[in-house]
Symmetry: C2
Subunit: 205 residues, 2 copies
Amino acid sequence: MARTSSGLHERLLASALRLFVARGFRGTSLADIAADVGCSKASLLYHFSNKEAILTELLMPVGNEVFALDERLSELDGEEASLTAVHSFVGITLRFRREIKLLFDNLADVSCLPDLGVETIDGIRERLVDAVAGRSADPRDRIAALMALGGIFATGAADLPYDDLTLREALLTGALRTLNLAPGDPAPGDLGPGRTARDAEPGKN
Amino acid sequence: MARTSSGLHERLLASALRLFVARGFRGTSLADIAADVGCSKASLLYHFSNKEAILTELLMPVGNEVFALDERLSELDGEEASLTAVHSFVGITLRFRREIKLLFDNLADVSCLPDLGVETIDGIRERLVDAVAGRSADPRDRIAALMALGGIFATGAADLPYDDLTLREALLTGALRTLNLAPGDPAPGDLGPGRTARDAEPGKN
DNA sequence: ACGGTAACTGTCCGAACGGTCAGCTCTGAC
DNA sequence: GTCAGAGCTGACCGTTCGGACAGTTACCGT
């Protein structure tokens, strides 16, 4: 019985993620999660101070990566900012598919979170758009940037039956086209399977 | 006092839309809506059989347009299907910005609706993607299609400070680029302010 | 042997909320 | 005048759910 303790927290997180994705945050009660892992609701609340804390802990990993990206982007501009942002965002999206779906499907609830609140999300989004737009103030560039990010986001949230490689390539191609940064429209074989070397993103990312 | 009756229903709808968009569907109680228009909760439930009915009625107009589009698309294919789908979808998105935001932010809740349920939404989405992809089965085309739609959707949901014309042009340009259907990359002035004539969509749309 | 503490649970509670119902009021038809 | 019915409301109800709390058990250091 020595091992029962250390595992519960993670098992609770796993169950919560599964259920939140399937039924939505509000659509899942604490009792549901507890029942799913086979422990008491009180036990669940021993591990997490409240329901929101579960959601926060689930989304923290993604949040941190996005925060880090945001910081890294602050010292870039122009096409470099744009490309870095797109590549990294695609990477994050693919690495956290289920969390992205959770976020996508429950935007209204996540917005009310104390740690990942509206102002935080909106701020980050704004700066991401700014980077992807290559710091351009032209509405058309900013809209295109938002479309690219939205497209990646929405596509990442839809659990498609494609493998990560296909998805990564298609997402990159699509986003760059959206931004009219298609990497040599004539040379479509270049960014194929091999990833463009910058895909091993600069930082820890 | 003769006029109080006929207006309430619409005023309730307006308040509900406002509050749902601001605080989310679940985050808005029937009492909130009633208080906002200054009538009783019972009165609210006299006009709508239940809370879901409000959301349904709010989203019905968009739903109907999308259904109609879906039907119209069924007899098209190739680039024609793709272009029609994109143009119409952009039009619908712009015409129902607030409803789109409502939908975007509350996907989990909308999915549980009896009339606009998961299978309906997923089915429509699937067929829309199919059309936008020009009936291609190539994963890359389908992903690009999903990205284009997702980009339009997400961008429409973000209430941007741009006028409809700018938005329409940028959305179309972005989506067509995403799909690699850029309308004569050399001739960017063509689909500018004038709308491409097909924008006055065939049907009642 | 024993005190402390981490892990876990059964039970209870209060609040919020969706929804019901009996009834009130006003208006318009006959 | 009166009857019907539409519009509206206050009061009430049942349930659900998040959360609090007082334990209990098992382990561990001393």
